[in-house]
């Protein structure tokens, strides 16, 4: 449920609803000139479009917090245009556009549990686990004798995303990836 906030409650990280859209305060500054009124300068980021702008509020201004909730969902499949998920609490299926899924699409494998961010019940983004295991579907063989040099080669994941892996990693193997950096962590035995 959206709550009513006063200007004094604005902080970095607070999420507001403005003109029917959710905004995140990414930067915040309290200012109070002399004996004048308090001013609250916010940098706001639209949580759907990513567009940012600055706005200054005064004490007395009131806001609705953005009606946001996170819901655990299972990734089912992509039909080329949309990504389909199942809500694990009510088993309803939802779909999200490529734009809403964003870079998380690099790491979506079938049955992966993700957290979908809902604004007024509408999916607007998702977060994947910090570490995911994905299969390498294609990668050139490593060069013999170069296994310890720290060199890397490109490898295509089952999602179609390409990452850099050490030379000893082979096609068909499963690797663990840190989704925050997009980097290879280790090989995993399946």
């Amino acid at each position: 449920m959206a709550a009513v906030l006063t200007a004094g409650e604005l902080r970095k990280g607070v999420k507001l609803e403005i003109d029917g859209e959710p905004y995140l305060i990414t930067d915040f500054e309290f200012n109070k000139p002399g004996k004048g009124q308090s001013l609250y300068r916010c940098r706001l980021k639209n949580m759907i479009t990513g567009i940012q702008f600055d706005r200054t509020y005064r004490s007395g201004d009131k806001f609705n917090s953005a009606d946001l909730e996170e819901q655990e969902m299972q990734f089912l499949y992509s039909d080329g245009e949309n990504y389909h998920f199942m809500n694990m609490s009510n088993f309803e299926q939802i779909e999200m556009t490529y734009e809403a899924v964003g870079d998380a699409s690099h790491f979506l494998s079938e049955n992966l549990l993700v957290n979908v961010l809902l604004f007024q019940g509408r999916p607007i983004g998702l977060s994947v686990p910090n570490f995911v295991d994905l299969q390498i579907v294609s990668s050139a063989p490593g060069i013999k004798g170069d296994t310890a040099s720290g060199s890397t080669k490109p490898a295509t994941l089952s999602t179609g995303h390409v990452i850099q892996v050490p030379l000893f990693v082979e096609e068909g193997e499963t690797v663990r990836i840190d989704t925050r950096t997009g980097q290879y962590v280790e090989r995993v035995k399946v």
């Binding site: 004094g8 500054e29 109070k32 002399g34 004996k35 004048g36 009124q37 001013l39 200054t56």
Partner: protein, 310 residues
């Protein structure tokens, strides 16, 4: 691996040493000038009624002091002609890079003086603090070179607004527009590299200040800015008890409407005004002066314990 269980206190040594030196230089300055150091109550039933300053309640009909101003003036009215105080003041809801709800304030008052005397005090005081605190020959604040020994600029509010905001406020400018432009256009340009005195505020922006003789549109109020930071606010004091009561009345009514709290009229202070001759007084943010002299990123750096760790 060692972990820091001190809450970052160890990293504050440099700032706390500067703070100590600044406090020492302030006391030394006022001793040389023949001032009496006084202490006034932190707990009061009648805080200064000011529209944009909210006291923190401390019990039934009791508040933490938002500034020592009224008590200091009562001493002044009783004939203590030069007094100063370094104390804590408390203001609800003020939290930011330059604001803590509990902060250290320096106030000083002179009988038979006006705001130009205070401006001279400011120069001497800040230069003394600068000398006392200086660790290297070149001072910087947030990337800008600062210094307080070169001549200080003095500019009227009208001129500063014309220059930086593109309009000239009359005696009663729109408060929202004035505050916003002061905060976002004017203030950030003032006090580079040396401190700047911004003076002669529109009458409506100087509730406790005397009207300037010869120019009824402005009041004898000034603020001190250094590197865009508001450091002090002083004025030739309003000593007319009737006018003062009227202004308090209007603030008390507004606060009752806005905050739902019925603040009492500071009657003892108003009574003392009957005996108060011409005088001038000023408040200076000690934490901010320390910030400037130690290039601190935030007010959190210059106090041992801030609101998050207190």
């Amino acid at each position: 691996m060692e972990t820091d269980n001190s809450g970052g206190l160890g990293g504050k040594r440099r700032f706390l040493e500067t703070r100590c030196r600044v406090l020492g230089s302030i006391r030394a300055f006022f001793e040389t000038e023949g001032f009496l150091e006084v202490q006034t109550p932190l707990l009061t039933a009648a805080p200064v009624p000011e529209l944009h300053i909210s006291p923190i309640p401390a019990g039934p009909r009791l508040f933490l002091s938002t500034s020592p101003e009224l008590h200091m003036k009562r001493l002044l009215a009783a004939g203590f002609e030069k007094i100063f105080q370094i104390t804590r003041s408390f203001r609800a809801g003020e939290l930011g890079r330059f604001h803590h709800p509990e902060f250290t304030i320096l106030e000083w008052y002179r009988l038979a003086a006006d705001y130009t005397d205070l401006q001279r005090d400011c120069q001497k005081l800040v230069r003394a603090a600068c000398r006392a605190s200086r660790q290297s020959s070149d001072l910087f604040f947030h990337g800008s070179p600062i210094d307080c020994s070169s001549p200080w600029e003095k500019i009227t509010v009208a001129r500063a607004f014309e220059k930086f905001a593109g309009w000239v406020p009359g005696p009663n400018p729109d408060t929202d527009r004035f505050d916003l432009d002061m905060s976002q256009k004017v203030q950030k340009n003032l006090g580079f590299p040396a401190p700047c005195i911004l003076e002669d505020y529109p009458v409506s922006q100087a509730a406790l200040a005397r009207i300037k003789p010869g120019n009824p549109e402005v009041a004898e109020r000034f603020e001190l800015f250094w590197a865009g930071v508001e450091l002090a606010n002083g004025f030739s004091e309003l000593t007319d008890p009737v006018e003062q009561r009227m202004r308090f009345c209007s603030a008390i009514e507004s606060k009752k409407r806005l905050e739902g709290i019925d603040y009492p009229m500071p009657e003892a202070f108003l009574l003392s005004l009957e005996n108060l001759g011409p005088c001038a007084g000023i408040a200076l943010g000690v934490d901010r002066l320390v910030m400037l002299l130690s290039d601190a990123d935030s007010i959190d750096d210059v106090v041992a314990f801030g609101p998050q760790t207190a």
